[in-house]
């Protein structure tokens, strides 16, 4: 039981110490930072056992921290990705300004996310939720650009979500008189229908904001691309999963008991599908890698939401498996972009080309994660996509499956755009000096690629904890067994056996690779990308032949009516409506972190002081 206290003490102490250690020594600061992320991770996975809970009380409110199989899954995402991103951040932050600020917020983010998953009561859940929001907000404005547009937008949406959740918590407390989530679930069945509908809606709004679901996603592209990349890999990979965490919690424990819950599910599933499609289309349009990945994150979370919203066992498995996979591949991709940004100074596809020979390891990691993102076998993304489709088809969502399929096929375009824009194409003289990123940045990426590869063939490794978690939530397992270690089934008994497929692919690949270069590798000689058929013309050294401007124009022309008629109008109208709101919000949210802290502290104090009167 002491473990929790130690973990959080190390986090908090480490954060503060790291912040001040920067004044003394940069290397000491790095070591402290690594320690304060890695040591709690080690302690958590070695010292905390399932079912253990730590009840304690604060100002007369009894709180409960504990862990079950379900929250353990998300703790795995948070701490796993957090540790790797921390290792990466050491290399990424080398020589940058305000390291202390970054490290401080990074540790706080990891701590708050761990806090969210271990909280078994609503108060600590809410407090950690707010800490997470602040720390991520401070990261979004780290670069100091677009604070007004991006930072405020992010904070306003987070605030909307947080206050919706707070209202939900207050309502729940007024009925149950405790803050335990367990009690809320118990009491839910006896509430009036109106409350039964409103409580999930309030909570789902909060979670949908963090998961960047369709009407509430406008903050995501700016925020993801504005934060430092070392943090964005955590931001997109783990922090957005907190929305999914809460969503599954609400959907499984509350909504599934409601006869009308089917409508929640349907609406959520369709919103997820639309999010996926729209996010994909907008990702295709981007010329900046950060923006592209940000929209892609929105789209990927759309798949996850669709999966968990359908609510069949296969759908849940698919959604949560995709959540794990998304943490892996999107974390890797953002890290790769960060590495490229550090080495070249830009992330624009129209500027960079032909890095493959200069940054081979980054390319390898990006390639693996892109294959996983596109959902192509034999990598892990395929397993999630397969289960998602099967769950949609077997649960009678015929048009939704078409929408999802459209999104994921169109996704190939931006997948290829990412790889081609950065790594392939003409090698330019301008980028001749570029070298591979330092080992601390490359090793986490490669590690995650290996995980993706392993999960592609042995998805059972992660499906087992997911299944255990769903059982812990009280999920009714109607089919008993939809997966084995390397076999996945659907409800109709159709299956994909992954192991022989992997072996066949590798065997065929090697065979034909050897055939192609059969006469010996020495026989074929490397020639530069200037030596191509250009109707006999000899390109000059500084002549740029790369095709990167308007890369996906043919496709965008085909979907132009969709993008113009609906999305554009929607965005402008929405932005116009929000502008007035922002004007008002700006007076409250001054853009100064201390002011926000003050607001919330004051609020919590008021709640604590007048809790007897209020509730």
């Amino acid at each position: 039981m002491e473990t929790y206290s130690i973990i959080f003490a190390i986090f908090l102490g480490g954060a503060v110490l790291t912040y001040f250690a920067g004044k003394l020594n940069s290397i000491l600061q790095d070591i402290l930072f690594l320690g304060s992320v890695l040591v709690p991770t080690y302690l958590f996975f070695s010292g905390v056992s399932f079912g253990s809970a730590m009840p304690f009380s604060l100002e007369g409110i009894s709180l409960l921290w504990g862990i079950d199989h379900y929250s353990w899954l998300f703790a795995l995402i948070v701490l796993g990705l957090g540790s790797l991103a921390a290792v990466y951040a050491i290399g990424y932050m080398k020589g940058k300004e305000r390291k202390g600020y970054f490290y401080f917020n990074f540790i706080l983010s990891v701590m708050s996310m761990l806090g969210i998953v271990v909280s078994q009561d609503l108060i600590s859940f809410f407090i950690f939720w707010e800490i997470m929001t602040w720390s991520s907000y401070l990261m979004v404005i780290y670069n100091g650009k677009d604070i007004q547009r991006v930072g405020i937008k992010y904070f306003v949406f987070s605030a909307i979500g947080a206050y919706a959740m707070l209202m939900g918590i207050v309502i729940v407390h007024s009925i149950t008189h405790t803050f335990f989530i367990e009690d809320m679930i118990q009491a839910y069945g006896h509430m009036s229908l109106q409350l039964q509908i409103w409580i999930p809606i309030l909570f789902l709004i909060a979670f949908a904001v963090k998961a960047a679901m369709m009407p509430l996603h406008v903050w995501a592209p700016g925020a993801y691309s504005n934060a430092p990349m070392a943090y964005t890999s955590l931001f997109s990979g783990a922090l957005s999963k907190m929305g999914v965490y809460g969503m599954v919690l609400i959907l499984v424990t509350l909504v599934s008991r409601l006869p009308q819950g089917i409508w929640f599910r349907e609406v959520l599933a369709w919103l997820g599908g639309i999010t996926a499609a729209v996010g994909t289309l907008w990702a295709i349009k981007q010329d900046d890698a950060k923006k592209l990945l940000a929209y892609s994150s929105v789209a990927q979370l759309g798949y996850i939401i669709t999966g968990v919203a359908i609510g069949t066992e296969l759908g849940m498995l698919a959604g949560l498996f995709l959540a794990v996979m998304h943490a892996l591949f999107k974390g890797t991709l953002f890290m790769a972009v960060g590495a490229i940004e550090k080495q070249t100074g830009t992330t624009n596809f129209t500027e960079i080309t032909g890095l493959i020979r200069k940054m081979p390891w980054t390319f390898l990691a990006s390639l693996m994660s892109i294959i996983a993102l596109a959902g192509i076998p034999p990598l892990g993304g395929f397993v999630g996509k397969w289960m998602l489709y099967e769950s949609l088809i077997t649960s009678d969502h015929y048009l939704l499956v078409i929408l999802i399929f459209f999104a994921s096929t169109a996704g190939f375009l931006y997948c290829y755009k990412f790889l081609f824009g950065f790594f392939l194409g003409q090698e330019e003289k301008e980028w001749e000096h570029v070298k591979e990123a330092p080992a601390t940045m490359v090793v986490p990426m490669i590690l995650m690629s290996v995980f993706m590869f392993v999960l592609g063939t042995f998805p059972g490794i992660i499906l087992k904890p997911i299944n255990n978690g769903l059982m812990d939530l009280g999920f009714v397992d109607s089919y008993k067994h939809l997966w084995e270690t390397s076999v996945i089934f659907n409800n109709w008994g159709d299956h994909v056996i992954l192991q022989p497929i992997l072996y066949s692919i590798i065997a065929i690949f090697l065979f034909f690779l050897i055939l192609v270069v059969w006469k010996g590798y020495k026989g074929t000689r490397y020639v530069t990308t200037k030596d191509i058929s250009t109707s006999g013309e000899v390109p000059k050294e500084d002549e740029n032949l790369t095709f990167s401007v308007g890369f996906t124009q043919p496709f965008l022309r085909a979907v132009a009516p969709v993008m113009r008629r609906q999305i554009d109008k929607y965005y402008t109208e929405f932005a116009k409506g929000l502008e007035g709101l922002f004007e008002f919000m700006r007076r409250i949210y001054t853009g100064n972190a201390q002011t926000y802290a003050l607001y919330v502290v004051v609020f919590v104090v008021i709640v604590l002081l007048f809790k007897d009167v209020l509730f």
């Binding site: 000689r525 030596d531 058929s533 109707s535 006999g536 013309e537 000899v538």
Partner: protein, 181 residues
């Protein structure tokens, strides 16, 4: 197996046979003769029945056809294209201009004799040669390939210095990568 003399003969025979019946011509019209290629390829004369087919890029092509006069400016590109082609490769000189300059014998910017700059395997006479003549040129090339006598590329490699000197003589500003495959 390949080292054996007799089997090498058989392999050569099969290879030459397949090369003979599959001639991919680079679609690179250098001069006015290019207009004779479409009738050769299409319904009336149908060169495809001999296995002649257009190829889009030098990497895929077997035959480089110099269709008519060749200006100094184009020669530079043609040399580049020829060097980008992969072995085995053949050159067909098309029309009188490639033989002795033809009607442009005294022009200040068209070359007179093609095989000083590129190894020509087959010349097709005429100004312009009609499609029948072009087909007969292809037939001649096929014959030479089958007999193993279409060795222009080898000659080019062996006498590279001579060819290079000739090329450099009329292309003073030589910025091309060196030929080494």
């Amino acid at each position: 197996m390949v080292n054996d003399k007799h089997s090498q003969k058989i392999v050569d025979f099969i290879q030459n046979w397949s090369r003979k019946h599959s001639i991919w011509v680079l679609a690179y019209g250098t001069g006015c003769g290019a207009i004779e290629i479409p009738p050769t390829m299409t319904s009336r004369y149908d060169a495809e029945r001999l296995g002649v087919r257009g190829a889009a890029t030098p990497r895929q092509a077997d035959v480089l056809m110099i269709t008519g006069y060749l200006t100094v400016k184009t020669l530079k590109r043609v040399i580049r294209v020829y060097e980008q082609m992969q072995d085995p490769k053949y050159v067909i000189g098309f029309g009188s201009c490639t033989i002795n300059g033809g009607m442009y014998y005294d022009s200040y910017n068209t070359i007179n004799v093609l095989d000083k700059y590129l190894p020509v395997d087959v010349y097709i006479n005429g100004c312009m040669p009609r499609p029948e003549a072009v087909l007969s040129g292809f037939a001649q090339l096929q014959k030479r390939i089958a007999e193993g006598r279409a060795d222009g590329a080898t000659q080019y490699k062996e006498n590279l210095e001579w060819y290079r000197a000739n090329q450099k003589r009329i292309i003073p500003n030589w910025v091309m990568p060196e030929y080494n495959w």
